[in-house]
């Protein structure tokens, strides 16, 4: 039976980096190429030696697909493509293609400039790698080659995140990347049709959680901001340009309006330009509400939110500022942070994960004294708040996705095995499908049951119908005979005569004869009659005839009786059958060799 193999090189039972190999229908596909943010050495890259011990990966992979721009899914891309070596196609959605290089460059800068690492990819490598990218549109089938096709589906989670459907022949796999099933303020929920893939590979990081509602997280955010403003403090919110910033702005705007607050809210201009630019490009990727707002007015024409100027940071009194970059590692957000860190009335709200080496990472780990350039130390007296807004699918979400796609098998990655036995049991019971949880480097092999389409000739069908019996029923398969012709890429089932005709062959008939000796003290016709009675009692359900020309026919097999010249009691039975009745013929000869039972009349 054909099989599909899934091997996580990273993810598997390990949260940190995603990189999954799929072998399907003779094709090898790599899904995501993430960096493990917790390690400083080679362990942060996926282990490509599984594919090949030395040399480039181009010959071993048919394509690489990146689900979204988070570093634990694309962080190792330049390393894999330029340092290990891969020249094949790299697929990702348009927004991912636009945003990936920015994040990779930021990441590179931090790692090389801030942490002083040397064996890392360069800016040029990032550019070279992105040249190999072929962008995908949603719900558009892309032929990677003659046999392999892929299609992207909306995943929610972040701008441009996609779930991907991979098909080779009649076998298919769906990989979810990171996704979420509940809509955001600015992103919709993941969606896929009832594509019934052989395997659904889903992330399960949050499979064992039940997520707190979006509104409660927002409430927390508003509460913190409000508390700071009330006591005259300043709030800094470092953001990356897209998505989250928009959402938080809308939230604050609504809140300010309702509570009639007067404190100014600022948005740094660099952010505005970039965000506007991206939104114009990717408006189809956001949800209905944002689209409506964007169409009705410019994204950033908020009543209470104004463009920021550097000098405002020194203004007295409360204020809220959104600034880039998101991890406080450089630029405007860091400048503002340095000015405001010393006052305990102030606050910094970190809306997401920060890479090691950044100030953001340090303060989120509780560090209260920071070393700045020129040996100066910065005392961190302001309040540090860590909030997580990024949306992942929880247990309920995974069940919903399975209901949507109806896969035949389930593979869970990105979770901890011991903590997923219950979910595995739940999936197996509710959907009656197998659920696998491979570890890094462990291969899951799933046998598939592909359906092979065959055209059947009308004549053959008619003939079968003429034989009578019950009507065709998918639950009760019926055996039929025909000849299978494979021409070009199609399969046809036709009657033997038609096959011979099409192939221009003559039909040959094969006939077998066999002589059986028998002792029977009767006349020839009587012996024949005894044989007839005997066969009739043994072979029930077969057509047995005693013909006036002195033969017995069993189906198409002819039996004749004659006596031996020397001894009239020694009978010689002549059995003759055609090749089609070979089985019955052999059976009869063996049966008759045993002789006739004595009780016959």
């Amino acid at each position: 039976m054909p099989e599909i193999k899934v091997t996580p090189l990273g993810a598997g039972q390990d949260v940190g980096r995603s990189c999954i190999l799929v072998s399907i229908g003779g094709k090898n596909i790599m899904l995501d190429c993430g960096m493990h943010m917790g390690y400083n050495d080679d362990r942060r890259f996926p282990d490509f030696s599984y594919i090949t011990q030395n040399g480039r990966l181009t010959d071993f992979l048919d394509c690489l697909i990146i689900s979204h721009f988070h570093l634990d899914h694309c962080g190792a891309l330049p390393y894999m493509s330029e340092m290990v070596g891969y020249d094949g196609p790299i697929y990702m959605t348009h927004p991912t293609k636009a945003i990936c290089p920015i994040l990779l460059e930021d990441f590179r800068k931090i790692t090389v400039d801030k942490k002083g690492e040397t064996n890392f990819f360069t800016s040029q490598m990032i550019k070279d790698c992105m040249k190999k990218v072929i962008p995908l549109n949603l719900h558009q089938t892309v032929q990677v080659d003659d046999e392999l096709e892929i299609k992207a589906y909306y995943a929610g989670h972040v701008l441009g995140a996609a779930m991907v459907h991979i098909k080779v022949g009649s076998e298919s796999v769906v990989y979810t990347g990171d996704y979420n099933m509940t809509p955001d303020r600015h992103l919709g929920a993941a969606w896929i049709d009832k594509c019934r893939p052989d395997i659904l590979i889903s992330e399960s990081t949050y499979a064992t959680t039940i997520r707190d509602s979006k509104r409660c997280r927002e409430r927390d955010f508003l509460k913190k901001v409000h508390e700071s403003i009330e006591r005259g403090g300043k709030v800094l919110i470092p953001v990356f340009a897209l998505g989250r910033a928009q959402e938080l702005c809308i939230l604050l705007e609504t809140f300010w309006e309702r509570m009639n607050l007067k404190a100014p809210i600022y948005f740094s201009t660099g952010l505005t330009e970039k965000a506007n630019h991206y939104y114009k490009l990717f408006i189809t990727w956001t949800n209905q509400k944002i689209r409506k707002t964007f169409v009705q007015r410019n994204m950033f024409e908020f009543k209470h939110i104004k463009a920021f100027d550097r000098s405002y940071a020194d203004n007295p009194g409360p204020m809220v500022v959104f600034a880039t970059p998101g991890m406080l590692h450089a630029g405007q957000s860091l400048q503002i942070f340095k000015k405001w860190a010393g006052n305990e009335k102030n606050m910094v709200i970190m809306p997401g994960y920060c890479v090691q080496g950044t100030i953001g990472h340090k303060i989120l780990n509780g560090q209260r004294k920071l070393e700045m350039e020129g040996r100066a130390t910065l005392d961190v007296k302001l309040q540090v708040e860590y909030m997580s807004f990024s949306a992942h699918a929880d247990a309920k979400g995974i069940m919903q996705l399975i209901r949507m796609a109806e896969p035949r098998n389930m593979v869970l990655v990105h979770g901890e095995a011991v903590k997923m036995e219950f979910l595995k049991g739940k999936i197996e019971q509710e959907f009656s499908i197998d659920c696998y949880m491979p570890a890094n480097g462990e291969t899951v092999t799933v046998t598939t049951n592909p359906s092979v389409p065959v055209d059947i000739s009308l004549n053959l069908l008619k003939r079968e119908m003429a034989l009578g019996g019950p009507l065709p029923d998918p639950k009760k398969p019926r055996t039929m005979h025909g000849t299978l012709i494979m021409k070009e890429n199609s399969l046809k089932l036709v009657s033997s005569e038609q096959a011979l005709k099409e192939l221009g062959l003559n039909e040959h008939q094969l006939r077998f004869t066999c002589r059986v000796q028998l002792q029977d003290p009767h006349s020839d016709p009587d012996t024949l009659h005894r044989i007839y009675t005997h066969l009739k009692s043994v072979l029930k359900g077969y057509t047995i005839q005693h013909l006036p020309d002195g033969t017995v026919m069993v189906e198409s097999i002819v039996i004749k009786v004659s006596s031996s010249a020397e001894d009239p009691n020694t009978k010689v039975l002549l059995l003759s059958w055609s090749y089609q009745d070979e089985d019955l013929g052999s059976f009869l000869s063996t049966l008759l060799k045993k002789g006739l039972p004595s009780g016959l009349c």
Binding site: I210, D212, R215, S388
Partner: protein, 411 residues
Amino acid sequence: MAATTEDDNLDDILDEWFIESLKTYKDLHVYQLEHPTQVIEWTSGKTVCVGGYSSSRNEMLELHLPLKLFADENKGLCAERDFKVLHGGFTDGPVRCLVHVPGTRFVVTNDGLSSDLQLWDLGGDDSDVIRRTGIVEGGRKRMMKSFSEGGSRIAARPSLQPQILHGAQSCDIQLTDLNSGRTLYRPGRAAEVRDSPRFVLTETDSTDLLSSLQFVSDAVFLAGCCNGNVYLADTRTSAAPQLSPPPLSSGESVLWWTDASTAPDPSCCRVIRLSSSGAAVVSDLRKPGGRAVRQAQLDVEGHHFSPDHVKVSWAPALDGCVSVSGLSRAVQIYDVSLWGAELQEVQPLFEHRGHVISSQQSDSGVSVRITSHVWHPERPRTLLSAASDGSVHVWDWIDQSAAAGPEPGSQ
């Protein structure tokens, strides 16, 4: 921003409530389970067990409360707001009653169809599956249609010996030892353990349906009946239990629920009884006959209720406060010390209306009902509440009456 659709309207109402909640709650977490629960039981200071109550197969889950709730010092640095599913298992029937056996990893459940109990092992670190390990037979064998006719109430003995008290009616209460499976006490029959005193509930075996069983100390327990009777029994003596009849003349159709505050000395423990018509009566168990010490008429909104889902509970760490749910659409908290000796209408100290407000978002016309609530055993104002739409809220409310004055300057 003009609201153009009904969805927008509902969103606005919900937003309104959330913004208001900034002043009225210290912490608020809102979760959606796949299936609703009518039990919430603490299995440790940070974990609870819940279970579904549909008529066939259900899930039972052990959940860890969000880390952020407990991160008192470095709360800002903790972003973890989610419930963690630590363990999960499947039951064959509804989970109508669930009790944790203290000092162990076992819970005992009853499905409301018979008085037999199921025993479960929640599991440790090596597996996340909850497994059924046994059955404890109850007094009644017949399958009953609804809880009030056949389901058992359960209470776990607070001491370290794993023993549970269970029964569906006042005449079939028994105390079973989980290790041996032996019944230690049974009303009206010779005890199976030779040295143990015989336990007789009443002289005539009364068949009052139970609405609660509760240990008020290691040896003394309270059996609250649906008709308003409350029995206080001491498992160490063979004396007849003390009976307190319902405080008010209540009609045939009036149901009662009971809770006792677990004070160190059982003789001064206070009992609150709540009737389905909203009368709440506090009595002192030292006074036989249980005359009301304080009482109040609560507003129950003429609301249709399900007897399984009504709960009244003393706050374990907040003196004089009780909470009520199931008779109206909110969880209400009252300060009993403000109640008088006469039956008068009172205002709640706090109302948690989160379930009814957020349920307006759902499509179905069926109104949501609160199915259960519990107080945190130590944190004075933290509660968990669950509703029929599968929602579970964790909330820490602010006492507005105390907040009216200036904040105390230092601890």
